[in-house]
Symmetry: C2
Subunit: 166 residues, 2 copies
DNA sequence: AGATATTGGTTATCAATCATAACTAATTAT
DNA sequence: ATAATTAGTTATGATTGATAACCAATATCT
């Protein structure tokens, strides 16, 4: 630590910013990288008129036929009212369908439509390319190690659930 | 009230959600873990009446005496107008000070005050504990590997600069 | 030099995001 | 049957982050 500064002894304000402390934080690097990936992801999804949440919903409906809205909301960690608008948008584009459940007539079963599946497939190709682009520098082993690490962090978080949340 | 635990197996609709596709995405895991860490960080900072951005500003002012607001804004990747309110808040709590630069009387030099430094130190102890808590499962080597990986991702992002952003 | 452009900081405003309250209809529990 | 819960919905509010327009000071241009 301690950069060789001091040409004048006391006036670094115009030089490169010192990130010494922040660089010591894992969370800092995590957030910067994630912000970047999310920006790039949204740019990637824009041509399909999808955004992070609508794409995620699409994916989960594909992977979970007949999923209910509340289950989807829980899976995505969004409040139900917000889920409604996401589902509304996807349904109005005929990418997914709502079907009343016979067994519980309050609820809807969500299903992917043919158009939805096609869009899902195209978008997912783009998303995989985006992932590849942004993690190209990481060898496969590192990538797996990162994912494992993220899972561990999440596991820890689940323990102290929502008690200290804001 | 309490836990609505039914003795019998619940509805079939409650089966586990399938995250197959999402689990294949590095960005997905990155975002989940980061969200968690940021929630926990904000909870950690709350007792000090700081939030992510105000704490970050405090840290950068400590590490960069006489930094200018615009440089701080650039370092934090926030728009200048938003920087103003953050700096206003910190200044009104006498944690940092604004001093007109003699060399450029448009700009301010930001400096940490004694109170600011004390708060910074207390908060940083708490932040380090928070980091330790959330990354406890990761051995030192893994932690370093993760940080390296995040730096690489950022480096890639810097190439395709802001052209494809939102 | 004097006109012009640019920069640092500011104010006001606006859009996007996310959470909360309250409601209906259907279901479950007492 | 009555009460309590749950799924989905509507309306609304708080918070965040971005944009436009402005003033004062500095830098640029010819």
């Amino acid at each position: 630590m301690g950069k060789a500064v001091s040409k004048k002894g006391e006036q670094p304000s115009v030089d490169k910013t010192n990130f010494e402390t922040l660089n010591g934080f894992t969370g800092y690097h995590l957030k910067r990288a994630t912000n970047l990936m999310m920006s790039d992801l949204n740019a990637t999804l824009k041509p399909f008129e999808l955004r992070l949440l609508s794409y995620t919903a699409l994916v989960l409906v594909v992977d979970n036929p007949r999923i209910r809205m509340s289950q989807l909301a829980a899976a995505m960690d969004v409040e139900r009212p917000n889920m409604v608008v996401i589902v509304d948008a996807l349904e109005s584009r005929k990418l997914i369908s709502r079907q009343r459940l016979e067994t519980d007539r309050r609820a809807y079963a969500l299903n992917i439509t043919l158009a939805g599946r096609r869009l899902y497939e195209k978008a997912t190709v783009a998303v995989r390319a985006h992932e590849e682009r942004l993690t190209r520098q990481l060898d496969t082993q590192t990538r797996e190690k990162v994912i494992e690490a993220m899972k561990l962090i999440q596991k820890i978080g689940e323990l102290r659930t929502h008690e200290t949340y804001n």
